[in-house]
């Protein structure tokens, strides 16, 4: 499904601040995989997402999604089959447009409904989707998104990311800016949508407990590489302590504080 081969990426190449962010990263996902990613700050997690999304150019390596080589394609072309959700609830929606207009923008690549942005059939579909969130947003479809709370905006963004049934969903700490109640709610909605549409998903999180319970596979990144990749029984039996232990054993960084992984 998703095949990443020998990804190499350097920031500010040839300058004194040169930093290798990805150092030959390899990863391969099956269809329907829900993989959680953990790793300390600077491990290259978000860089990996930006490389897949096309924001950053790779020095070397290839990204293959469902048999299509994405490596040279521009950002908006890749976005056709990608859903990306970031930490900041303000980033994923257009604040002055209404909820239905935001959904219409995201659904545009799949909708077959004529030249006008909204039509009755699409609106009915949006209403169904919104009511499945259970936040009462289906009755506020004409409200500008800027008037919603952070949790509500993130829920709408989640719908926008998945409305076009992307082949791959990238979640970059998408609950980190929310309060615990809203964060749990968003995670529940995420799990429901992902399993309903069986979207292959990568999720970055700093919550180790969440990383081990959500999804079916967990990888740990360090210094631009994957250093741990667990699934099935091995993952079932993994605890936070054991994970930290193996991090200490495998990490290239010495004198590391456990909190670095958790923060």
């Amino acid at each position: 499904m998703l095949k990443l081969e020998n990804l190499q990426l350097t920031f500010e190449k040839g300058t004194i601040g040169e930093k290798k962010a990805l150092k030959g990263l390899n990863l391969s996902l099956d269809k329907g995989d829900f993989v959680t990613i953990v790793g300390s700050n600077g491990a290259g997690k978000s860089t990996l997402f930006n490389a897949i999304g096309g924001r950053y150019r790779l020095d070397e390596g290839s990204i293959c999604l469902d048999g299509v080589d994405l490596t040279g394609l521009p950002e908006h072309t890749r976005a056709r089959d990608l859903g990306v959700l970031k930490q900041d609830p303000l980033k994923g929606t257009a604040p002055t447009l209404t909820i239905e207009e935001n959904l219409a923008l995201a659904y545009g690549r799949r909708s077959k409904g004529g030249i006008f942005a909204t039509n009755r059939k699409d609106l009915k579909y949006y209403r169904e989707l919104l009511s499945s969130l259970d936040l009462g947003l289906e009755d506020r479809m004409k409200t500008p998104v800027g008037k919603l709370s952070g949790g509500q905006r993130q829920a709408v963004t989640l719908l926008m990311c998945t409305i076009a049934s992307p082949k791959l969903l990238l979640l970059d700490e998408h609950t980190a800016a929310l309060d615990p109640v809203n964060a749990r709610k968003i995670i529940e909605i995420t799990q429901r949508i992902v399993s309903l549409k069986s979207i292959t998903t990568l999720m970055i999180t700093h919550d180790i407990q969440m990383a081990l319970t959500v999804g079916n596979r967990t990888i740990m990144m360090d210094d631009g590489r994957v250093i741990l990749d667990i699934a099935g029984d091995e993952r079932e039996n993994m605890t936070m302590e054991k994970l930290l232990e193996s991090y200490r054993a495998k990490s290239s960084r010495r004198l590391i504080d456990d909190r670095m992984l958790l923060s």
Binding site: H76, G92, A94, E101, L105, I115, A117, M160, C161
Partner: protein, 299 residues
């Protein structure tokens, strides 16, 4: 009365300019200076066609020429990564030469004695009214289409538009082309209205457009895009009426037009911030006086 009708006609024609400025400034969120050149471009192109006996074709050509100029600015911004405001200034500067050469190297051109769209219909007010309202309606409808929504999204959150698999570079160029097409149409109509084209008439035109947009918003309220387009035209009419009366009562000399426009735009744009500062000051004063009272009471 003549004064009122005259300013109404001018207000409607400049209202189309306001629609163009609204598209780039309010919807795309870029203050576009190409307008200063594309307004005259519209004038020049229309003047040449009008002298050739094709006033209506001239207006159509003006729209196309303006759109082309806007698309150039868009390409400078998106493909060559030049700062948006600077892109506008560059194209505007280049257009000065283009405009002169269209008018045969002369700084102005008279179309006196030729048929214009106004003489063909017979009523200046009717032509201005129909064109301004139908243009606003067409643009308003356009912004409800998928492409129109994509443009509005681009002005609001570009990153999100790219994430929705929309080429934001293209929507930007398109919006700039539409905005400048409208501005050029307005310029062409002005040329036919006043029966001459002058290479210097673009100076300060962007501020006049902004003034119209802002006066409309302040006096008629902000309520969505379609409504906003009509308030822009309304604002343009109100602006012309104010100016006409200010000049009529000899309050200001005729050449003070641009200073007045500049001050109006400055006041309107700084309004929300100044209001906030004054409110904060007032509440601080209130708190201080309360503290003083309490101290007096206790002590």
């Amino acid at each position: 009365m003549t004064l009122l009708i005259g300013s109404m006609e001018l207000g409607l024609i400049y209202g189309i300019l306001a629609l163009g400025v609204y598209t780039t400034f309010r919807i795309l969120n870029i203050p576009d200076l190409t307008v200063e050149g594309s307004f005259v471009l519209g004038m020049a192109v229309t003047a040449v066609f009008t002298v050739g006996g094709d006033p209506v074709l001239g207006l159509a050509a003006a729209i196309l020429a303006g759109a082309l100029a806007g698309a150039c600015t868009g390409l400078l911004q998106t493909k060559l990564m030049i700062n948006p405001i600077l892109s506008g200034i560059i194209v505007m500067t280049g257009l000065y030469t283009v405009n002169l050469s269209i008018m045969g190297g002369k700084a102005n051109m008279s179309i006196l004695g030729n048929d214009t769209i106004f003489t063909m219909v017979g009523s200046k007010t009717l032509v201005a009214l129909v064109l301004a309202i139908s243009t606003a309606a067409i643009i308003g409808t356009f912004f409800r289409t998928r492409v129109g929504l994509a443009i509005r999204g681009t002005g609001d959150n570009e990153e999100m538009v790219r994430a929705a698999s929309i080429d934001a570079d293209r929507t930007k160029c398109l919006a700039l082309a539409i905005g400048n097409g409208l501005v050029a149409l307005s310029g062409g109509l002005i040329a036919q209205y006043q029966l001459f084209s002058d290479v210097g008439s673009g100076a300060g035109i962007v501020v006049i457009g902004l003034a119209s947009v802002i006066i409309g918003e302040v006096l008629l309220g902000r309520r969505g895009v379609a409504y906003g387009l009509f308030t822009a035209v309304g604002g343009s009419i109100i602006y012309r009426v104010i100016i006409a009366f200010a000049l009529k009562v000899d309050l200001f000399p005729p050449y003070s037009l641009k200073l007045i426009s500049a001050v109006v735009v400055m006041l309107a744009l700084s309004g929300p911030y100044v209001k906030k500062v004054l409110r904060d000051k007032a509440s601080t004063r209130k708190r201080r006086s309360m503290v003083k009272h309490i101290k007096e009471y206790v002590g």
